[in-house]
Amino acid sequence: MSVQQATLQSLKAGRRALWRQRLAENWRVFRGNLLGKIGLSLLVMFGLMAGLSYIPPLIDPMYHPMTGVDPLVVKSTGPSLTHWLGTDFMGRDILSQLLAGARVAFMVGVSAAFMSVVLGTAVGMTAGYLGKTTDTLLMRLADMIMVLPTLLVVLMLAALFGQLSIWMIVLMIALFRWPGVSRVIRAQTLSLKQRPFIDAARVAGASHTRIIFRHIMPNVLPLAFLYMTFRVTSAIVIEAGLAFLGFGDPGTVSWGMMLQWVWKTGHMFTAPYWLLPPGICISLITLSFYMLGRAMDEVLDPRLRDETQAG
């Protein structure tokens, strides 16, 4: 191995150490934030629930959240030893439904948020960087979508095409929720574009692609990530709303679905053990993602402050 190769190796090692150090620093700030800690512990709890959701059906087929029916139960019953949270109107276990609901919530929330943020970031960066006609067209499109009431439109589509699968719902949410992100990312891109380091990159011979991916993107990604945590919240709420109104995926057990079953079978005021758990879970998971987002805000902020203060 030549000396050059050795230095190169050490450069790579140094770069890794640098990122570790950066991560550690961010983690330190995050840990100092109470909201973030609460949010993160709640999310860990929901994550555990989602993970545990695979276990009950293995114990006994009657614990399958969708199809498992306790043959001894014919109506909704309260908590007992065999059904810790009770059963629903046809004897399905509420706890295993609740666990399965956590899995669905994560799946819907994260994937819809991820898709909308990716789309929003791509559109926002393109519009901001290219400017002119492209900017106008993309932003007018964003405006048009932004003013559409997501829930109402998805409801209408669901009514038109019959029941929608959970993935269709995810896609819909993503398609309707990107404009907000793209506005923020566009604004950020516009201000970055004016910064001298972009001029410096141009003088260094960087192509547009390189400027977008190497210079602008790393500077907007933290913001995009921040927006993702907030978007998760709204995606979960929209899915729950759809399901509660009866337009959810009938093949999936989500918390919104559970609420719909409570309501449809008239147990709203008679079975708190059935009504409360999914309701509390929806509120808590949206709250925890929100708190996480607030903490991320803190984490991203000091670095920005750091930069300006040095000047």
């Binding site: 050059q4 190169l8 450069l11 380091f197 410096a200 990159a201 000047g311």
Partner: protein, 344 residues
């Protein structure tokens, strides 16, 4: 000028206008002249100073040279090749030869990029060498730019460095391709005075060791005198005086050059620098569009002539030329007769 064929960079009649958009207070758009018919030629291996205040167009001139902007009129040639409207691949090749150091080191480095990545960027975009070669060159230029041991700096982010260090990183990045022309846009104005000397030393080293030609843009006459071989003074987009640095500063001819010298702090080691008093503290009403650009502030202006007629370039001494009706050989403009002079 006899050796014009040897000039590395030539600006011929270069103008740049900015269109301002109207707003609620000022209806309609207007045009701001950033540069007006500028002629410049640079000789290989010299440090050429462009001196002026903010808004004088000196930065615009620098940005035109590195082609961050395109001139509206005139033409720019490097080694005889017209680069005024280069695009695409041609522009990329051009930028291998012409690099720039920006004014504000707090803004000109990407906060998300390590020093190693920032300095290596010109090499990567121009596909020079393999990663190992590139690293070696990066370490080399960091050393040239006075950041040693270079290994200590490459893993850091810009916000972990002081302003002086950042500016040295910016210089390293600009010289890593060994350009033949370097534009340094007020590289010390955002830094503590104590860092300036370091930056000057590095720039001199770049010229002496790499043979690069440097355009040094500054507002400081003293810095220009220290660093430059020749200087040009620019006022509101118009060049007003040009010549060897020593000559222009010791015997300035244009009233604006004199005003700049008056304004430089002279405490210590400046005995014998006269006070010229050529700058009107309050501007007089504007003259005609075609008049002398300095008319409003010039204490020596003669109303009829200066407000209406654009001056011609006059040779003052040797290579020193001046854009003033009253410039005369010998370096001093004779004061106009008392009755023609305007009150302040």
């Amino acid at each position: 000028m006899s050796q014009s064929h040897k000039d590395i960079l030539k600006l011929e009649g270069v103008s740049k206008f900015y269109r301002t958009r109207g707003n609620r207070y000022r209806r309609g758009g207007g045009t701001v002249v950033a540069l007006s018919r500028v002629n410049l030629s640079l000789r290989p291996g010299e440090i050429f100073g462009l001196v002026g205040e903010s808004g004088s167009g000196k930065t615009t001139a620098g940005r035109l040279v590195v082609r961050l902007e395109e001139p509206d009129e005139g033409r720019i040639t490097l080694d005889g090749v017209d680069i005024t409207h280069l695009k695409g691949g041609g522009l990329r090749d051009y930028r291998r030869k012409v690099q720039m150091v920006f004014q504000d080191p707090y803004q000109s480095l990407n906060p998300q990029m390590t020093i190693a990545d920032a300095v290596a960027e010109p090499l990567i975009t121009n596909k020079v060498g393999d990663p190992a070669d590139r690293l070696e060159r990066v370490l080399g230029v960091l050393d040239t730019a006075g950041l040693s041991p270079a290994e200590d700096f490459i893993y850091r982010f810009p916000h972990q460095l002081s302003g002086g260090q950042r500016q040295r990183v910016a210089i390293a990045r600009a010289i890593v391709l060994e350009p033949s022309l370097l534009v340094a846009d007020e590289p010390t104005s955002m830094l503590d005075a104590s860092y300036s000397a370091q930056i000057f030393e590095i720039l001199q080293g770049v010229r002496d060791q790499m043979g690069a030609t440097i355009i040094f843009i500054t507002h400081s006459m003293a810095a220009a005198r220290y660093l430059c071989d020749r200087i040009a003074v620019i006022y509101h987009g118009h060049l007003v005086e040009q010549g060897p640095a020593e000559a222009v500063i010791n015997s300035p001819s244009h009233p604006y050059t004199k005003a700049l010298i008056d304004a430089t702090p002279k405490f210590g080691r400046c005995e014998g620098v006269p006070t010229y008093g050529t700058y009107l503290p309050a501007p007089r009403p504007a003259g005609e569009q075609a008049g002398c650009p300095f008319f409003q502030r010039c204490a020596l202006a003669e109303r009829l002539l200066c407000s209406a007629t654009y001056p011609e370039w006059r040779q003052v001494a040797g290579e020193q030329v001046c854009l003033c009706h009253f410039a005369a050989e010998g370096g001093q403009s004779p004061p106009p007769p008392e009755e023609c002079r305007l009150g302040g």
